[in-house]
């Protein structure tokens, strides 16, 4: 019985993985190359931030608020300094941004547009600077990213997050809230 249950579990899990894979839209070969470049750049950012992370005080799963705050402040400063020459569009190159817009538009067509717009625009992100290499203000709420969209867009390394700021799509560092890059007019 146990074996049957385990087998069924594996089957369902495989089916889910397949469904998730199928949920990702098919891209042409040139588009795949652009997305692959985007993913490499995202990974390069992660390598850089991991390299300078050692400058920040360590933080464990049982940290105090002081330790968490000290880590964030030092980590943020270190990454900002390490990528002081970064420019808007380093990750979202014009070609990549074009693909992202297309992917999002496809998603917005497939699912009720109004529903997704509501989910994205319901958060108040006014006052969040649309600027790279600055921190997303901790006093401002974050836009909950619609799952369907996350399953459509290229998957980021776990240290990075997609977030909408108004109609713009940004990439944030999960641990220090740095705005790594953004593209405007992402929301149709």
């Amino acid at each position: 019985m146990k074996t049957v249950r385990r087998f069924c579990g594996i089957l369902i899990f495989t089916a889910l993985c397949t469904a998730v894979a199928l949920a990702q839209p098919a891209l042409s070969r040139p588009d795949k190359k652009i997305v692959s470049e985007f993913e490499k750049k995202a990974q390069r950012y992660v390598s850089l931030r991991n390299k300078v992370k050692i400058k920040a005080p360590k933080v464990s799963g049982t940290a105090t608020p002081d330790e968490i705050y000290a880590n964030k402040v030092v980590f943020l400063a270190a990454v900002r300094s390490a990528r002081s020459t970064a420019r808007v569009g380093d990750l979202f190159t014009p070609a990549a941004a074009e693909i992202f817009k297309r992917l999002i538009e496809t998603e917005f067509t497939d699912i009720e547009t109004s529903e997704l717009r509501k989910a994205v625009l319901e958060a108040d992100t006014s006052g969040v600077p649309l600027e790279i290499n600055v921190a997303y203000p901790e006093s401002k709420e974050l836009v909950a990213m619609p799952s369907a969209l996350l399953l459509t867009l290229p998957q980021l390394p776990k240290e990075l997050r997609y977030r909408f700021i108004g109609h713009s799509l940004a990439i944030l560092d999960r641990d220090n809230a740095l705005i790594v890059d953004f593209m405007t007019d992402a929301l149709p």
């Binding site: 579990g9 464990s60 968490i68 529903e115 974050l142 909950a144 990213m145 619609p146």
Partner: protein, 295 residues
Amino acid sequence: MKQLILTLFLMATVCGLAADPSVIVYGQPVSSDLKVTLPLEEGSVKFVAIGDTGSGSRQQLELAKVMIDYREAIPYEFVLLMGDNLYGSEKPVDFKEKFEDPYRPILDQGVKFYASLGNHDESNQRHYELFNMNGEEYYRFTKGEVSFYALNSNYMDKRQIEWLEKELSKDRSRWKVAFFHHPPYSSGGKHGSSSSIRRIVEPIFIRHGVDVVFTGHDHFYERIKPQNGIFYFVTGAGGKLRRGDVKKNSPITAKAFDEDLHFMLVEITGDLMHFQVISRAGKTVDSGALPRRSP
């Protein structure tokens, strides 16, 4: 025997054989101090569910006081947080004023808090020792025969979905309880049901026999009529209130309360989950018991 009869009756009601298909409701709301409707059985799993707490407001403190007082009558062991644990800034002083100070007496008594993340929470809260997240944005823990799944509904990506599917598929616990911020079902005027989350998690919950789901985000209390056999609660007024926000005559509402802050007291014993909802004024605004889905 009594337990068996009660369970059979509950199963019958859930199957739609009685007038109220959702739960047994324990009488009318009462106003006496420290009214207890839970059975308080030895060895049961007793906890509090509360959401959207971290305002640091006078109202949060007043509700926390009632919650602390109630622990003398109902010795709950831990607290589930539905997210929005810290509104506004997240400096060390904010952790103190919006979390540690309000709940200090029960923290000192050893009551553990298990947090999930809301849209006002930074991911770094996962490191905070008193939120018991052990550095993870989504995690699972077990108490007795109950498995608890804390999810991050702000960012339900492929990694998290695969993790949830994998954990649930090997979970043989008698009860499976999920908690997170955005409600798959809600009658809120401001936010309402998060269909984006529902579309992803509900099929997984159904497939793996999740019994109960606690959420927040909407700043009121709502017990949802069972959806596909799952009981959903919105408990999002632990520190902020959106008065009058529950849509009138919503077809999914079994019971709602949007006139004051509240928290939920919960006791799981055998195949029943008992609950009692307490307002800031100390009134019991809802109570009852529900059976688990997959006996």
